[in-house]
């Protein structure tokens, strides 16, 4: 048992690698600050475009969304970070990771938001139209406030996935939390830094997980 403890929960190793891991945590946070707002923004764009576009446009968009969702995010990440330089575009690694993961996660955010829009009964659209409200005003003031509320637990759940997705960045040598934990693991020949990284992810995500639990407990769909 003490051998297990020395291997996975070695306090000395954890203390020595904590500086490295905190630097990694900061990089992970920066990646999240690109991917989560970016994914929400582009996801909202996708959902609105599919709602407003004529049928053929909405259909081609949903094809594109499905293609991206079926594409492994790791491959997308490698293609963008290592492929763009061949086109003469060389974004800083953090930005490259941000772009790739935003593309991936925005399709999920988009589908969730579209479900939210579709969850509102057509009679709400009719009530708004009968008072002369236009499509955009109806979306903004009538449909989205209710629709987004209906899918808040799913949005929060996808945010959780998006944060964890940023750990893929370690594959393309971005010094994020997971990458730094692997580095520290190599330096100390000991996996305790990985456990420490997991604890840091837990600290980062625990409030979000609890929030989802609370949101899920409150049904907000209208009767």
């Amino acid at each position: 048992m003490s051998e297990f403890f020395q291997t996975f929960l070695n306090p000395g190793v954890m203390a020595e690698s904590s500086g490295l891991l905190l630097r990694g945590l900061w990089v992970t946070l920066q990646a999240c600050l690109i991917v989560v707002p970016g994914g929400l923004l582009f996801g909202a764009g996708l959902a609105l475009a599919q709602t407003l576009a004529p049928a053929w446009g909405a259909r081609s968009l949903s094809w594109g969304v499905d293609l991206i969702r079926a594409f492994p995010p790791l491959v997308l990440l490698v293609l963008i970070v290592h492929g763009l330089p061949f086109l003469g575009i060389e974004p800083p690694p953090l930005l490259g990771v941000g772009i790739a993961l935003t593309i991936n996660t925005s399709t999920y955010y988009g589908e969730i938001l579209r479900a939210g829009i579709l969850s509102i009964e057509p009679t709400q659209w009719e009530a708004a139209r009968s008072t002369g409200l236009g499509t955009m005003a109806t979306l903004r003031h009538v449909i989205l406030p209710q629709g987004v509320r209906n899918v808040l637990p799913d949005l929060a759940g996808n945010t959780l996935e998006a944060v964890k997705l940023t750990s893929l960045a370690s594959v393309v040598a971005l010094p994020d939390l997971l990458r730094m934990a692997r580095v520290a693991q190599g330096v100390h020949f000991n996996p305790s830094p990985l456990i420490l990284a997991a604890l840091l992810y837990l600290a980062l995500l625990w409030p979000l997980v609890r929030l989802i639990r609370r949101l899920g407990g409150r049904a907000v769909l209208p009767a």
């Binding site: 009530a127 708004a128 139209r129 009968s130 008072t131 002369g132 236009g134 406030p145 209710q146 009767a223």
Partner: protein, 242 residues
């Protein structure tokens, strides 16, 4: 008396089945016209064709002397001046009574927030809910919700109200409060076209009653004439089953 709203030969077909056939009907300023008839006779479709929530296939709808535009800002402007009240209220559940009534004055008519709220408050007072402005729809009874829906339409100062069975979804004891509001609007000279199953109300409040069956107006005239001396067999049997 000039007509606020006039339907000229309006027709509508749903999947090959005619829902409205060659409807001719006019509503004059401060006139109340009641549409009666069995369920599925086309009363709702007729009302929805007036503001093009349902697109008629044939004929013209003329509002204040002009054909109702097919779309865009012109149609939106006509819809503002044609208030609509739905059977199931269709209030915005995330907004309180005042916000429900102030949304269109602010976002469709372009009034300032202050002006929109004043218009909404006046409309709520007119339907007897001046003291419930901050109540959410789910905190109100069905009758109160329907009165908020009427206020939402009134806040835009419409020339005519289209009411689609406004009391059919209400418990019997709540019907009276809504009908009282409609009567008081009639006394204020608001033109109304109302689909209803409340024959006693139609007899007493309507200037004219139109009887619809299978998408056609079979009889139209003053209540005493239509209800007491029905000419068609359809109307006779409809009235006898009430």
């Amino acid at each position: 008396m000039s007509d606020v709203l006039e339907l000229r030969g309006v027709g509508k077909t749903f999947a090959g089945i005619p829902a409205l056939r060659d409807i001719h009907l006019a509503v004059g300023a401060s006139e109340l016209v009641a549409l009666i008839g069995p369920s599925g006779s086309g009363k709702s479709t007729l009302l929805r064709c007036c503001n093009r929530l349902t697109e008629p296939d044939a004929g013209d709808v003329v509002f204040e002397g002009e054909p109702v535009p097919a779309g865009g800002a012109e149609l939106a402007s006509v819809r503002r001046r044609m208030g609509m009240v739905f059977q199931a209220f269709n209030l915005y559940p995330h907004l309180n009574a005042l916000e429900n009534a102030a949304l269109a004055p602010r976002r469709a008519a372009g009034l300032s927030q202050g002006e929109a709220e004043t218009a909404a408050r006046e409309a709520l007072e007119r339907v007897g809910l001046g003291d419930r402005t901050s109540a959410m729809p789910d905190e109100l009874s069905g009758g109160q919700q329907q009165r908020v829906a009427i206020a939402r339409a009134l806040a835009l100062r419409p020339r005519i109200l289209l009411l689609d069975e406004p009391t059919s979804a209400l418990d019997p004891e709540l019907v009276g409060s809504v009908l009282r509001v409609i009567r008081s609007l009639r006394e204020d000279g608001v033109a109304m076209l109302i689909a209803t199953h409340e024959i006693a109300f139609a007899r007493e409040a309507a200037d004219r009653i139109a009887f619809l069956a299978d998408g056609e107006i079979l009889e139209c005239g003053p209540p005493a004439e239509v209800l007491d001396r029905p000419r068609t067999e359809r109307l006779q049997s409809f009235l006898s089953r009430l």
